[in-house]
């Protein structure tokens, strides 16, 4: 087994991958997470001792690795994972932030939370059971959230004699299903998390498999998109005006580039006002640069002294989004209190929060079979549905398919500040990249 030695000089140039795991309790998710952490030397002696100590106190003979990840009193008492936790580990090639999401059916909101910032999702399947309802649910959530890379980890291969046909059948079924939902890239890997096959080390039992191990794939999957294909978007967070003797006239618009790239000299439009100007300078945290790209936090200076404030969006003059007060979106309801037609809410989109009203809830989705229930009237916790919202002020909103950052929003209860709903503007599922029928042409997907 490989032992990773963490060399600082190697780590300094590594990139960061955010990924999420999804799987039912018995699919071996904890074992997989435990093995990734353990084999990357991320479980340190005192943490392991604490787990061994706690396991002994509970009368368990072997250390229960789930105690590494279940951090709350209530979780340890009940032996279940209630909430998303974030784990950190590193190899010489890359650093990882893992959103460890609970597998229970009722916690769809947790997978949505974990997947919202993930660039890759690992969906676990038990090789003995194959693709089940829960697998389809996970694939659908990954597709809805437009997670760019999906890994199907077919686990417990040791319990099916490491048989290629078993794996091939599951991989084929899953790939066809996920592709029909528009998942752009699917990688299927046969593993045994318990025995360590194809997690970190290539399996000695499956010569028929020629692909990467889970870790190898995580280390090499590309993490940023083609900038030329993205619409450049810059939500203004904060206006920096020092008004000091040294900088009497400095006026910069601070923010994190949400998508694409911006260049000095570029003609831009400020939304929703529609005023235009040119980028006079870009300050990248103390350094003046000619170009900056997502997700860099920068400060943009404009050539003209126009009115720009927090909540505005700067976009290229020839590629600005339309502004709208009518938002149609797919949402996941994350609060215990329901969302109903007619409800007054706040809508938070990038750096802008506006009043809004829920005009309609046309349908609710059943994730098991992707069937739609028309006009449910309201959504409750963990429901996914379509909503139509009217906002009090215009928003520069993209389709979520074009930009996860400028196409996403929250609905918030104005009374107590509760985050009610996670929203994704535009159509629900992407069209399949290839295949005979595009998913959007099929009314079944367009709920």
């Amino acid at each position: 087994m490989t032992t990773f030695t963490r060399h600082a000089e190697q780590l300094s140039t590594t990139t960061l991958l955010r990924f999420a795991t999804a799987g039912s309790v018995d699919d071996g998710k904890s074992t997989l997470v435990g093995r990734l952490l353990h084999d990357s030397k991320s479980v340190l002696t005192d943490q392991l001792e604490a787990v061994e100590h706690a396991s002994r106190n509970r009368g368990q003979e072997a250390p229960d690795l789930a105690l590494l990840t279940d951090g709350l009193r209530a979780e340890r008492e009940q032996g279940i994972t209630i909430d998303v936790a974030y784990r950190y580990f590193a190899t010489p090639r890359r650093r990882f932030i893992l959103a460890d999401t609970p597998g229970h059916v009722q916690y769809t909101r947790n997978m949505v939370t974990g997947a919202s910032t993930a660039e890759l999702a690992v969906v676990l399947v038990d090789a003995r059971n194959g693709v089940v309802e829960q697998t389809r649910r996970h694939a659908a959530v990954a597709a809805l959230l437009r997670v760019p890379h999906v890994v199907l980890a077919v686990n417990k291969m040791d319990l099916v004699d490491y048989a290629e046909p078993v794996f091939a059948a599951i991989a084929e079924e899953f790939t066809a299903y996920a592709a029909s939902l528009g998942v752009p890239e699917i990688t299927a890997i046969p593993i045994s998390a318990l025995a360590g096959d194809n997690v970190v080390e290539p399996s000695a039992h499956m010569d028929w498999y020629g692909g990467p191990t889970v870790l190898e794939h995580l280390e090499t999957v590309p993490v940023s998109h083609d900038l030329t294909a993205c619409h450049a978007r810059f939500p203004v967070q904060y206006v920096i005006r020092p008004q000091t003797a040294e900088h009497p006239d400095y006026r910069g618009y601070a923010g994190q580039i949400a998508a694409g790239a911006f260049r000095v000299g570029e003609a831009v439009t400020v939304l929703p006002s529609g005023r235009t100007s040119t980028i006079a300078g870009i300050d990248a945290l103390g350094e003046s640069v000619d170009i900056a790209w997502a997700p860099q936090s920068v400060t943009i200076r404009l050539a003209d002294d126009i009115d720009v404030s927090r909540g505005d969006l700067i976009a290229p003059a020839d590629d600005a989004p339309a502004v709208t007060q009518d938002v149609e979106a797919t949402v996941c309801h994350v609060a215990d209190q329901p969302l109903a037609v007619g409800q007054r809410v706040l809508l938070k989109h990038t750096t802008r929060t506006v009043k809004a009203i829920v005009k309609d809830i046309p349908s609710r989705l059943t994730l098991d079979d992707l069937s739609q229930h028309p006009a449910p009237g309201r959504l409750v916790a963990n429901d996914i549905g379509r909503v139509v919202v009217r906002t009090a002020e215009p928003l520069a909103l993209d389709a979520y398919a074009d930009s996860r950052r400028t196409g996403s929003f929250l609905l918030i209860d104005p009374a107590d500040g509760t985050t009610l709903t996670a929203g994704m503007a535009g159509q629900a599922f992407a069209a399949a990249a290839t295949g005979e029928e595009a998913a959007t042409d099929d009314p079944e997907w367009d709920f």
């Binding site: 030695t5 963490r6 780590l11 300094s12 140039t13 590594t14 990139t15 991958l17 340190l44 002696t45 005192d46 706690a54 951090g71 709350l72 009193r73 340890r76 209630i82 974030y86 590193a90 890359r94 947790n110 949505v112 939370t113 919202s116 910032t117 890379h149 991989a171 084929e172 790939t175 990688t187 990467p212 794939h217 090499t220 999957v221 590309p222 993490v223 940023s224 900038l227 967070q237 904060y238 920096i240 020092p242 900088h247 400095y250 601070a254 923010g255 300050d283 945290l285 103390g286 860099q296 936090s297 706040l346 990038t350 950052r405 996403s408 929250l410 107590d416 500040g417 985050t419 996670a422």
Partner: protein, 311 residues
């Protein structure tokens, strides 16, 4: 059918940010969100490496303007002199405002009682929460990281606290995309953790990259220490050594900075940042496991203190 991705080296892409650049960009975004959404934010500043890192990120986030936040130090009365000196020098250098909440003043006034074990870390909660109420701070930046401790791994970047500063882990808001919800009622506040996603190693690598100055106690030096419960504590007026505890001079350094009564030193030869990073990369102990007595009090010590209002 076996589907295999077309893979390429992540670092081949000229537009891929290094992991430190990604973390820096995220933290700066969080600082600016708070500046845009809140009325009276404050940065908790202990003079430890995490709060020094936070201040450095805040300076970059608002440059060339000054940092639009004050600092708040909860002074246990048992601080390392080098750290207090560093604190005051830093405040003067950047023209910052510093509020100090003093545990010693609370003890002297009879509002807090010294614990039998002499540890003052848990006593910080009351002066902290009262300072928040008194100054009506509505956002309080803390340097907590999720890799530090299992209860902290469950902490949100924006963590709503009630009028008693309490954390309720079962009533946390889901955090989606980079959309942080800072809505709160009068009297409530939000704890904000901009470096949630950093690890100890990330912090050290970034400090090295940026050339950030640290208090001397982070580097190996000769020090008079004594052993209590397996930890090397600095001898001093705060209450050590007791009878039967023997002072000796050792070459040590600190991995965390906290109250002298519960922060242990580690044997070390690391006198430079590069040496410290090499040492941490090879260490088989977490920083808290190695040097913090207060986290070992019970299996849920951190969770329990956080519930009461600790950071």
């Amino acid at each position: 059918m076996t589907t295999v991705a077309t893979v390429s080296e992540g670092t081949d892409n000229p537009y891929a940010l290094s992991h430190l650049d990604s973390l820096e960009s995220e933290a700066v975004h969080i600082f600016r969100e708070v500046a845009g959404e809140f009325e009276r934010p404050v940065i908790l500043f202990s003079g430890g490496k995490d709060s020094i890192l936070m201040l450095h990120l805040a300076l970059k986030a608002f440059a060339p303007a000054p940092v639009p936040f004050a600092l708040l130090h909860v002074d246990t009365g048992h601080n390392f002199p080098e750290v207090l000196e560093y604190r005051d020098r830093t405040v003067a250098e950047h023209g910052l405002r510093l509020h100090v909440a003093s545990v010693q003043e609370y003890i002297d006034a009879g509002k807090l009682r010294e614990r039998p074990d002499g540890t003052r870390n848990p006593l910080q909660t009351v002066p902290l929460t009262e300072a928040i109420q008194q100054h009506r701070f509505d956002a309080v930046f803390g340097g907590g990281r999720r890799d530090e401790e299992k209860a902290r791994a469950k902490e949100r970047v924006f963590s709503l606290r009630d009028e008693f500063s309490q954390w309720d882990p079962r009533r946390q808001r889901p955090e989606l995309w980079q959309l942080y919800n800072g809505r709160h009622a009068p009297g409530e506040h939000v704890r904000v953790f901009p470096i949630s996603n950093w690890t100890e190693l990330d912090v050290w690598q970034y400090i090295e990259r940026e050339g950030i100055e640290l208090p001397e106690i982070y580097f190996a030096h000769e020090r008079e220490v004594f052993n209590r419960s397996g930890m090397w504590l600095t001898a001093g007026d705060w209450g050590g050594p007791k009878e039967g505890e023997r002072v000796e001079t050792r070459q040590v350094r600190y991995r965390t900075v906290g109250d002298m009564s519960c922060t242990g030193a580690v044997d070390s030869d690391a006198t430079t940042l590069a040496a410290v990073i090499t040492e941490i990369a090879a260490s088989r102990l977490t920083e808290r496991g190695a040097t913090r007595a207060d986290d070992k009090m019970s299996e849920a010590a951190m969770e329990d203190r956080k519930r009461e209002g600790y950071f």
